[in-house]
């Protein structure tokens, strides 16, 4: 395992990430995932680490408005991108994004661990504009697992916002 490691450790390099509209200059090694950069270096812990393998969706955030798994990409690959996390959804301070409010109104979570990923994913899905029905929502949200099984209320919440805004 150790044999392939370079003999001298590589120094971290200074990387500037634009997160929720604000520039964060961080010293990161190239192998730092975007998820770890958000949580451990920018100290934005709203984005969750679930499986760390792209299978659960808890780490979902928006890059230039598109939803991705932040655990399966390197921070160094995202200089110059607009990164939006659950902390940056509000248009104005202390006012929830309609999707956040809908999740509260519909009781769309139990433990809440998957919720930031669910909400970012749902917003990304509405940006994409391909969901028309509840069945579409279920299919296009399949990358977000809820271990508590709150799916019916999650679908209701998203459906609600979809009809309010589109």
């Amino acid at each position: 395992m150790i044999s392939n490691m370079p003999l001298t450790p590589l120094p971290p390099s200074s990387i500037t990430l634009t997160i929720n509209g604000k520039a964060h200059t961080l010293d990161l090694a190239p192998w730092t995932t975007l998820l770890d950069a958000l949580r451990e270096y920018a100290h934005l812990t709203g984005t969750k680490k679930g499986c760390d393998h792209g299978q659960c969706g808890a780490c979902t955030a928006l890059i230039d408005g598109k939803r991705i798994n932040t655990c399966l990409t390197l921070a160094i690959m995202h200089e110059g991108h607009q990164i939006t996390t659950i902390e940056g959804l509000e248009d104005e301070p202390d006012k929830l994004h309609p999707m956040q409010q809908a999740f509260i109104d519909h009781d769309a979570f139990q433990c809440g661990y998957c919720t930031p990923g669910q909400i970012c994913s749902a917003i990304g899905m509405l940006n994409e504009g391909h969901a028309k029905t509840e069945a579409d929502i279920r299919e296009l949200m399949s990358g977000n697992i809820c271990r508590c099984g709150a799916y019916p209320h999650i679908v209701d919440a998203i459906h609600d916002v979809m009809h309010q805004t589109h």
Binding site: N4, P30, D52, G54, L72, I76, G124, M125, E128, N144
Partner: protein
């Protein structure tokens, strides 16, 4: 994850050139990264241990363009999502669109690229488990799957005569199954220049070197995938059977494209996924349908039997043989119903 150096060139020549520097002793020490969805996962699992990553995301390969012959060129860096929802793909190659959308999750399709999709590692559970024997991961170490829990493993084109080369892994890509049916062509640039590879010759069977999933030479970079003019837009389907309704690899999948003249079958392509080290086609099976009328379901079973000829189960995955036959019959039924 093992430490590595990282570069992000902005032109193809630099990307290919940076690869060739350290070929000699460690052929997989340099790897290209685009979406990274499979590579980074493998690096976290300690299955892939590159010492240098060449980020190709700044290369000018992110467009879908018309080809003079009436086909389309899919840039290697166009995402799977943008490809599946592209108006020209939906209109002329709906089989490809349907197939891409049957794979992965929306997040992964937003990240994964067309070029990268071809490089999803052919695999089974034992390939991902570094405590198990796997000839694909560690050549010569044996095969944990052959007598293990091999439910997801292959039934066609498998190699099992020598413990040191045995491999029954399957290629997980949905997109590649549609590309096989469409007879796409892969465009590559490497240290020796440019060349094209028919999709049927891009992925390979395990043979005596299961560590290789494809026929690329070291340092070659996929720049585009060319789709021929015939997209089978009127009669097609992708039938994917899996353990849950969405976001799971295929146990068995079938891509079918048919060209009809009145009620007579002129041309037919059938490609299977989830059953082999690469998408599986058999011209002899397809030929059984040529010239036939579409309303003869009795032929479907003969086609299925011909496609699955020589299939071999290894215990937990033996059900795939019958499942694949029934999937072929069902898929043909779906396609020919579209005609009626």
């Amino acid at each position: 994850m093992h430490p590595f150096t990282y570069i992000c060139p902005s032109d193809v020549a630099t990307a290919v050139g940076s690869f060739t520097e350290d070929l000699a002793d460690q052929p997989l020490s340099t790897q290209f990264i685009a979406g990274g969805t499979n590579l980074l996962d493998l690096m976290k699992q300690n299955v892939a241990r590159p010492t240098k990553l060449v980020d190709i995301n700044r290369l000018p390969l992110a467009s879908i363009t018309e080809l003079p012959n009436g086909g389309l060129r899919l840039g290697a860096l166009v995402t799977n999502a943008d490809t599946a929802y592209h108006p020209l793909i939906q209109e002329r190659y709906p089989l490809l669109s349907q197939t891409i959308l049957a794979g992965a999750s929306a997040q992964l399709r937003n990240m994964a690229t067309n070029g990268g999709n071809l490089f999803q590692r052919t695999r089974c559970y034992y390939f991902y488990d570094t405590s198990a024997a796997c000839n694909k991961r560690e050549p010569g170490s044996g095969c944990g799957a052959i007598k293990g829990y091999n439910r997801v493993c292959g039934i066609l084109g498998t190699i099992d005569h020598d413990p040191k080369t045995t491999c029954i892994a399957t290629n997980p890509s949905d997109m590649s199954v549609a590309l096989a049916a469409l007879e796409a062509v892969v465009c590559v640039t490497g240290p020796q220049g440019e060349r094209t590879i028919p999709i049927a010759d891009f992925h390979r069977l395990p043979g005596d070197s299961p560590q290789y999933d494809n026929t690329l030479q070291a340092g070659e970079l996929v720049t585009a995938i060319d789709l021929p003019p015939q997209g089978f837009a009127n009669h097609y389907t992708y039938l994917k059977l899996r353990d849950r309704t969405s976001y799971a690899f295929a146990l068995v999948s079938v891509a079918v494209g048919v060209m009809m003249d009145n009620n007579q079958i002129q041309e037919v392509r059938i490609a299977l996924g989830g059953v082999a080290h690469k998408p599986w086609r058999k011209r002899e099976a397809e030929a059984l349908l040529i010239g036939q009328s579409a309303d003869q379901p009795t032929i479907y079973q003969s086609v299925a039997e011909a496609l699955l000829e020589g299939a071999k189960g290894y215990g937990y995955n033996t059900f795939k043989i019958e499942l694949a036959k029934r999937a072929v019959v069902r898929a043909l039924g779906i396609v020919f119903q579209q005609n009626q």
